[in-house]
Amino acid sequence: MSSAPPIVQARQLHKQVSGPEGELVILDQVDLDIYQGQSVAILGASGAGKSTLLGLLAGLDLPSSGSVLLGGQTLETLDEDGRAALRAGRVGFVFQSFQLLPTLNAMENVLLPLELAGAGDARKRAAALLERVGLKERGKHYPRQLSGGEQQRVAIARAFASEPQLLFADEPTGNLDEHTGQRVAELLFELNREHGTTLVLVTHNQHLAARCDRRLYLEDGCLHQEAMA
């Protein structure tokens, strides 16, 4: 175990929501430490609460009780804007449904996090990343003009653009066919290695999970740790 403090630290994380049949517990007293440079896969059945956990770890949502520390900062004490500012330039995302802005072209989508973080050489860095994901020629194309695999590659370029310390990926290959999914996964792990980024990957794909340093199983709201790779 590293001597440096964990980059993500969850303590007694509890999340419940009200449904038609009363309170529903999604996460129950979850403890988790993720260290700089690790890659962690969170596995679980559909509806197990994987995406909810990811949202809490990234500060997109707040727990019912318990706390999350992101880069040493307690998220519960920050308001929505404070949490957004904490994410800007430090956290990257890759989503199952790509989530590119349809009104912006590929280049502008990659530029977005750089500009939000106020990076100086944004355009150069975005161009380099597009080239790295093999879409140098497609910078002016809009999302609807790109295939699913290409869109996800743009999303990956966007995720790495601000050189985040931490990358959250939510089923990144879930919407792709097997072959394209493999190539996109390849790219994701390559870039992760090159940038030394900490990766938190939510998936139910065992092959993808097997490529991570750690695998955690979410079941009945509780997190079960598998042996470290």
Partner: protein, 828 residues
């Protein structure tokens, strides 16, 4: 079928709070309110007109013309047993101790009016009563406006020509008041027996003599048939059935213009309805797929949704009619004084029209997008991406265009006007859309050079060019219409008044009798008034060109027909008037002894196709006289000097009856000096040009305020187009906001992105609207009025303010919530 119709009503009730149903309802209500407002007004005016149809002439038949009625005509009427009455109408100035005012005098005989009744009041603001009498000798009845303008009361005296009269009653209504929509001078009604003593009527005065006739229909038509071949030139016969009274014509025209203005709101509502229905359809595709899976036929699925939408017409028409009724009250208030005073309560017809309009808008604009629901495959329940193809845009546009033209035709009820308006509107829409496209394109280029927030906003506009262009064009046209009415009209009018030289003549003296010329010239000299010269004026009709009798009908040009159907003002002098220039041929002085030569104004020559050397024959007071065109002249009509279409040497018209005319400049504060002049020359009529122009401007102001008010509906309608467009993208925007938050954007960044988008949208609409209004103003003033165009900075401020204000408020109000979308939504 019944089951489906009830089913539609049930669905509508369940979905009454859904955004697109609300939007449809709002669009319909605005359209119905705008159109029924005018329909209510029209209905009430038409009610008055039909009630007055028999009265409008104050007779069953009226013969009128510029000369006294022939004795033979009277005798024939008397023999036929028809009732008759006389009316003699002319313009004249009335005098009080300090003031003068141009009035429309009418002298009538005892039996006037033969149909309808006069109504009068004992004093200003007192209740009116019908009265079966005419003013007694030495008395006049006057319209309220005269009392107000001259600060007089019943019982006071006024001078009319050489006589003094006591104001006995206030005249509130006369059946044959005619085109009071544009009559500027107030009425003075007097007894015919008093007329000679005023010395106001001389052989050459501009007077309209009318013989009113009434009796059994057969006798009247027999008389009309007898009279027709005996009528002298300049005389016409009007009866209630075939003669469209001036009032009715003027009101009909005003109604169709108001109607067309109100239609703009309805057409914009059509766009909103098409957009809202598209969203309605998108959101129901899954449901319809499920219904199809469960065995519902395409037809049933479609009918169910169509009936749901059509049910909306009923409440929308009722609510819209209520707003229309209220609006009509405001319109009447704005047009006070220009409309008949006692409008009847309207019928329910406008409400029916409102309902028909609502159904029409729904069928014309909602049905085409709705048809898509009939094409949903049941397989969509398994494969969600399997949506039926969206209807081709071309088909939608063609449907909308046909719908719009049908609406126009319905409102204008005139094929030619419909064609003009349709072509004009299409041209305006094309120009506006092209400008919008250009601005959106520029914005797209600009986004490379601006920061994230601006880029985000600009990108939203540039990526939805069709929507952006539709929104900015609709708003731009609305803004343009309001600016044209609010600024350009009064700017142009003021500009015209300003453009007159300081010392340009502002008063005309007309009806100067030849015997008075010398004395009047002397008197003007004594008063220190420098006149533009005293010119004789002879009224003659052009009857033949190069020996061929003039056939008015053979002229295509409407102006030519109008000119030929009335008398020209001819004059004689040997001195070329100051502001005239010879364009072709030689001025009369080249051959001063030749009597049969004339100089013709070049514009008139062009309109009538006349050239040098043509021989023209004029009929003056029944005598024919011929002359040859020896020169063509340009005339500066707006110099306010006496000017004439045709001038000959004195020898040409010497023996013809003439009156003289002159004009001069008199500072407004010295108007009092004219009082004495009018007293010495009672038959002379003074026209105060600037005062007349101001009165015309005031009338225009009043009418255009009413139109401006109607255009507010268009602006609100344009705002709903915006609302519909925003709604279409609302879901996507919420998703984008969530994503941006996830990527670390602050709420300030999101707000600024939205603000950038709407500011740009508003600015484009503002630029289009203001530039359009400025272009129209520029071309009208430089091309039509030949004035220097001076831009009005307030117009730009207002135009941009309207664009930015309306758009930014509407946009931020409807999308503000999307900024607060929780970022976790990006994961779902």
């Amino acid at each position: 079928m019944m089951q489906l119709i009830i089913g539609g009503l049930r669905s509508l009730w369940r979905e009454r709070t859904s955004a697109e149903i609300r939007l449809l309802a709002v669009a319909l209500v605005i359209a119905v309110a705008s159109v029924t407002a005018v329909a209510f007004l029209t209905d009430r005016i038409n009610g008055t007109l039909s009630r007055q149809a028999a009265e409008l002439l104050a007779a069953d038949l009226v013969v009128s013309g510029p000369y006294p009625i022939k004795e033979e005509w009277r005798q024939q009427a008397a023999m036929a047993g028809l009732q008759t009455a006389d009316s003699i109408a002319f313009g004249s100035v009335v005098l009080t101790e300090e003031e003068t005012l141009l009035t429309a005098v009418k002298a009538v005989s005892d039996s006037y009016p033969l149909r309808g009744r006069l109504r009068t009041a004992g004093a200003l603001f007192e209740g009116e009563q019908a009265i079966d009498a005419i003013p007694q000798l030495g008395e006049v009845w006057v319209e309220p406006r005269l009392l107000r303008e001259l600060a007089l009361n019943v019982g006071d005296e006024l001078e009319l020509g050489a006589s003094r009269f006591r104001i006995a009653r206030v005249l509130t209504y006369e059946p044959d008041r005619g085109g009071n929509l544009i009559r500027i001078a107030p009425r003075v009604l007097m007894n015919k027996i008093d007329l000679p003593a005023t010395r106001l009527v001389t052989p050459a005065s501009r007077v309209r003599y009318s013989l009113l006739l009434a009796g059994p229909a057969d006798t009247v038509s027999d008389y009309a048939r007898w009279l027709s071949p005996r009528l002298s030139k300049g005389f016409k016969v009007q009866d209630v059935t075939d003669a469209r009274p001036e009032l009715a014509t003027a009101l009909k025209r005003a109604q169709s213009y108001f109607g067309l203005v109100s239609l703009m709101a309805a057409l914009l509502a059509g766009i909103t309805i098409a957009m809202a229905t598209r969203r309605f359809v998108d959101r129901r595709l899954d449901g319809v797929a499920l219904l199809r899976c469960l065995g519902v036929s395409r037809r049933r699925a479609l009918t169910l949704h169509l009936s749901e939408i059509l049910w909306l017409a009923l409440p929308a028409a009722l609510l819209g009619s209520v707003f229309g009724w209220l609006t009509q009250l405001v319109l009447i208030k704005l047009l006070v004084g220009q409309l008949p005073a006692d409008l009847p309560t309207p019928s329910v017809l406008p409400v029916v029209q409102g309902l028909l309009l609502a159904m029409f808008l729904l069928l014309g604009f909602a049905l085409p997008p709705l048809l898509r629901l009939g094409k949903v495959s049941p397989l969509k329940v398994l494969r969600r991406e399997l949506a039926p193809p969206a209807l081709s845009n071309l088909l939608l546009y063609v449907a909308a265009l046909l719908g719009s033209v049908a609406l126009l035709a319905w409102q204008a009820r005139d094929a030619k006007l419909t064609a003009y308006v349709a072509v004009g509107s299409i041209a305006a829409v094309v120009v506006t859309a092209l400008s919008a496209w250009l601005l959106v394109w520029l914005l797209g280029r600009l986004r490379q050079r601006v920061g994230t927030r601006w880029r985000f906003g600009f990108a939203n506009l540039a990526r939805r060019p069709a929507t952006t262009i539709a929104q900015t064009s609709a708003l731009g046209l609305g803004i343009m219409a309001i600016l044209l009415l609010a600024f350009v009209r009064s700017d142009l009018m003021d500009g015209w008044i300003r453009a007159l030289p300081e010392d340009a003549p502002n008063h005309f003296l007309i009806n100067i009798q030849p015997a008075d010329v010398g004395a009047l010239r002397e008197r003007l000299g004594q008063l220190g008034i420098e006149s533009a010269g005293l010119y004789p004026m002879v009224r003659g009709r052009l009857t033949a060109i190069n020996g061929q009798p003039v056939d008015t009908e053979s002229y295509e040009n409407e102006r030519a027909r109008r000119l030929l159907s009335r008398e020209f003002n001819l004059s004689h002098t040997l001195d070329l008037p100051q502001d005239n220039r010879i364009l072709a041929g030689q001025w009369l002085l080249a051959d001063p002894l030749r009597a049969d030569q004339i100089s013709v104004e070049a514009g008139l020559a062009q309109t009538l196709g006349l050239k040098l050397g043509d021989r023209l024959e004029f009929t003056v007071a029944g005598q024919a006289t011929q002359a040859q065109i020896s020169s063509l002249r340009s005339v500066q009509w707006d110099s306010f000097r006496p000017n004439f279409f045709v001038i000959g040497p004195p020898a040409w018209l010497d023996s013809m009856p003439a009156t003289y005319i002159t004009s001069f400049h008199l500072p407004p504060e010295q108007r009092g000096r004219l009082t004495g002049l009018v007293r010495s020359f009672p038959s002379v009529t003074i026209l105060d040009v600037v005062a007349l122009m101001r009165q015309v401007r005031d009338l225009l102001n009043q009418v255009s305020r009413a139109i401006e008010f109607l255009f507010l509906f268009s602006l609100i309608s344009a705002a709903t187009v915006l609302w519909a467009a925003i709604q279409q993208s609302a879901e996507q925007r919420r998703q984008e906001s969530a994503l941006l938050r996830t990527l670390g954007a602050s709420s300030a960044t999101l707000w600024q992105g939205l603000a950038a988008e709407f500011l740009a949208l508003g600015a484009i609409a503002g630029i289009i609207g203001t530039a359009g209004a400025a272009a129209v103003a520029w071309s009208v003033s430089t091309q039509l009025l030949e004035l220097d165009y001076q831009g009005n900075p307030w117009m730009w401020i207002t135009g941009m303010g309207l664009g930015l204000g309306v758009v930014t408020l509407a946009g931020l109000a409807s999308l503000g919530r999307s900024v607060h979308t929780p970022p976790a939504q990006a994961l779902r």
